[in-house]
């Protein structure tokens, strides 16, 4: 039974850390003011984003190992590895399996950022790949709500709603900043001309 408690706790912490990482990642590209303090804050957000991502991966690993080894729910290794084949809450666990795989892709892309995004072209692909972190987060939210045995208690709703508001807010802030930057920076305009011949 202890393992089961730990498994749930690890899952929840992984979700919280994922939320933190997504929020900080989105906010890392905001704050374009040209003074040293906002530059330093940006560097710090970036660092915190990467640290939260490491915690997410570690906690997810723990969560998976504990859920499989624990005997309270009967989950086999193949059931955990192949999406939607788990006997217990198959759909909900499938979401979790998919989230874990896509998180692995996002985490690897993040760790290999310098190598994968060496040219301007590959940088665009890198951004698209890394932005699938938002999908990972949605999958894990679905997984948490549908598979979590705590779902329904008041504090889980507070937690999920708070996390969803944080991610939505950070995403909006990021899009607003990117839009403003694209439309006001002469450099961005010039580059658009150069790289796409003026077509967006």
């Amino acid at each position: 039974m202890t393992l089961w408690y730990l498994a749930r706790a690890a899952g929840l912490i992984a979700f919280l850390a994922a939320t933190g990482s997504v929020v900080l990642g989105a906010l890392a590209s905001t704050g374009h003011r040209a003074d040293d303090r906002s530059r330093d804050r940006r560097v710090l957000r970036q660092l915190a984003h990467r640290s939260a991502a490491v915690v997410t991966v570690a906690m997810l690993g723990l969560h998976v190992v504990l859920v499989v080894t624990d005997s309270f729910v009967d989950l086999s290794v193949p059931g955990a590895l192949v999406p939607f084949t788990a006997g217990y809450r198959g759909f909900a666990l499938g979401l979790g399996t998919l989230a874990a795989y896509s998180l692995a892709a996002v985490a690897v892309s993040g760790a290999a950022r310098g190598r994968l995004a060496a040219s301007a072209r590959s940088a665009r692909h890198w951004r698209a790949l890394h932005a699938s972190a938002y999908v990972v987060w949605l999958l894990s939210l679905g997984h948490g709500i549908l598979a979590g045995t705590d779902t329904g208690r008041w504090w889980t709703w507070v937690l999920y709603a708070g996390c969803a508001a944080a991610v939505a807010g950070a995403l909006v802030a990021r899009l607003v900043v990117a839009d403003r930057h694209e439309s006001t920076s002469p450099l961005a305009a010039a580059r658009r001309q150069l790289t796409t011949g003026g077509v967006r």
Partner: protein, 64 residues
């Protein structure tokens, strides 16, 4: 090692100057000014950090 800026990508975010102040200054618009691009061994870890922090992926550390 040498540090290079890809000017087609640099957006003048200026983060590199905060992480590698020994080598990178900023002009009045926030774009990096690098007088001597050669990076000594003692500065390589800092240079890598600056390369990893550049939001536009415009910084590079190249051998030589």
């Amino acid at each position: 090692m040498r540090i290079e800026v890809d000017w087609t990508r640099c957006d003048g975010h200026g983060l590199c100057a905060r992480l590698l102040p020994e080598k990178v200054g900023l002009d009045e618009w926030g774009f990096p000014v690098i007088d001597t691009p050669e990076i000594g061994d003692d500065l390589v870890p800092h240079a890598r950090r600056a390369v990893g922090a550049c939001p536009a992926l415009a910084l590079r550390l190249v051998p030589g």
